[in-house]
């Protein structure tokens, strides 16, 4: 299958980005340097083309109860123009995907991981009641994430919508750079910032306007490499690494988005059972004391015995240390626990720490 391109593909190539296959798309992994791009977002403002993400719209009479049945967080508590982080689970409690659910006056918008868009769409269709319509609009939508403390002053120059009035995990529909869009105060970096959703035909127009508006903040394009290290410093889960069909949200530390008291939802019974019988392992953050960057699937040891494995790792440009996430057997899953990370015949001591890292 030929890799898909976002509407901004040519722009990335023009900017000298290194393009790599990711989730069926050719995406920029870096423009200049992952470390520089990371620091840019932490200190000023950066722009990510995340148009590979999937967008699925759900409408109809019973859309609310349907989305509430599909997901673990409580959709009924969302007001119009509010969003929530949530997951969809299988019956056995494993995770189908993690996503953001947006409530509009007449519909719900689910923003899902690129690699899972088709799987999620089929999953949703399988459970769809007759009076609900489900549409995958992913190919029509460009999504830009503008992240960092200067994201708001940058974007405010381009819109009459009062951005300061949009609270975290809320959104507004309005014009920005003359283009109708959804302006959402969300992101995957832990910095203040916005995610913008609009028709892909306006991609370059919006991209250019944002860069022009951000010039005095030295705004820069940011690739997927820095996106990964930025999210990791905040312990945001990455599907396929930290969570997947074989992990449940409770052991992933996502118990806060599992609302057992909201009524029935897919996976509820299995998750309740997992909770009552006690978790066997937990996703923990650790700092390596040594010159090994932890990578997915490296073993985690205590006293020479394997007690878990790494799911994500990175060099943290902010801590200037190597950090990672991994599942650790419950008896060792505590802050301060000394562990060993084994890497290709080498090993390094590490300590389980409180998260987020930064």
């Amino acid at each position: 299958m030929e890799a898909k391109k976002t509407a901004l593909y040519d722009v990335h190539v023009r900017l000298g980005a290194r393009m790599v296959p990711f989730a069926g798309f050719l995406m920029p992994i870096q423009y200049t340097s992952i470390l520089e791009e990371h620091r840019k977002v932490r200190t000023s403002v950066g722009v990510f083309d995340v148009s590979h993400m999937g967008e699925i719209v759900i409408r109809g009479e019973s859309a609310e109860s349907f989305v509430n049945y599909l997901t673990t967080n409580n959709v009924a508590r969302l007001q119009v123009n509010q969003a929530q982080y949530t997951v969809m689970c299988y019956d056995h409690g494993g995770i189908v995907d993690d996503l953001i659910c947006y409530r509009f006056a007449d519909r719900y918008l689910l923003v899902v991981n690129a690699a899972n868009t088709e799987k999620d769409f089929q999953w949703i269709l399988t459970h769809r009641p007759a009076d609900v319509q489900v549409e995958n609009i992913s190919e029509r939508i460009t999504q830009l994430a503008v992240q960092g403390k200067n994201a708001e002053p940058t974007l405010q120059k381009l819109t009459r919508v009062d951005l300061s009035a949009i609270k975290f995990y809320w959104f507004q529909e309005g014009e920005l750079a003359g283009v109708p869009m959804v302006i959402s105060r969300t992101g995957y970096t832990g910095e203040p910032g916005f995610e913008l959703y609009f028709d892909r035909q306006y991609s370059e127009k919006v991209w250019d306007a944002v860069f022009e508006a951000g010039r005095k903040y030295d705004i820069a394009p940011i690739g997927l490499g820095a996106r990964d290290s930025l999210r990791l410093e905040k312990k945001y889960c990455l599907y396929g690494n930290d969570i997947d069909q074989n992990t449940n949200p409770l052991e992933a530390g996502l118990g806060w988005i599992v609302k057992f008291d909201k009524g029935d939802f897919i996976g509820r019974e299995a998750l309740l059972k997992a909770k009552e019988s006690g978790l066997k392992r937990k996703l923990m953050g650790f700092v390596v004391e040594g010159r090994i960057i932890p990578r997915k699937d490296y073993p985690i040891l205590v006293d020479g015995k394997q007690v878990g494995q790494v799911t994500s790792g990175a060099y943290s440009p902010i801590l200037e240390k190597n950090i990672g996430l991994g599942y650790v057997a419950i008896e060792y899953a505590r802050i301060g626990q000394q562990i060993t990370i084994e890497a290709r015949g080498r090993s390094a001591p590490a300590t389980i720490v409180k998260t987020p890292f930064v």
């Binding site: 870096q30 340097s33 290290s229 960057i293 060099y315």
Partner: protein, 124 residues
């Protein structure tokens, strides 16, 4: 792509500059660019014996970790200790300040196993 004419290359993207019985070793411009930001370079100690084609160290980039392979056999006579604190020198100047080790060549004939610039270029 910067590939100096006078160097020898390996298929694993190391280079060797041979001067008398000494070879200076590093990784190519192509390798550093593919690896992206380099954060650690783990090198052997002076006095270590390395063998052609065998690993003499590790390079950790933000994206991936790779082995470093010795282009020639011999004893390590010098190690670029600047890389301990400034691994980014490998990104910035792979054939100069980003050199890694110097080897006292034990078998000069091994040079025949290495690639010329033209041969290496064909691999890229």
């Amino acid at each position: 792509m910067n590939l100096p004419e006078e160097l020898y290359y390996t298929k694993d993207h190391e280079w060797a500059r041979v001067e008398g019985d000494t070879a200076t070793v590093g990784i190519t411009d192509y390798a550093q660019s593919e690896l992206g930001d380099i954060v650690y370079v783990e090198l052997p100690e002076v006095g270590t014996t390395v063998k052609q084609g065998e690993s003499f160290g590790t390079i950790e980039a933000v994206k991936a970790v790779s082995d470093l392979y010795a282009p020639l056999s011999g004893e390590v006579t010098e190690v670029n200790t600047n890389l301990e604190d400034s691994p980014e020198l490998v990104n910035q100047d792979p054939y100069g300040a980003g050199w890694m080790i110097k080897i006292k060549i034990s078998n000069p004939d091994e040079v025949n196993n290495l690639l010329s610039k033209a041969d290496y270029e064909k691999l890229l």
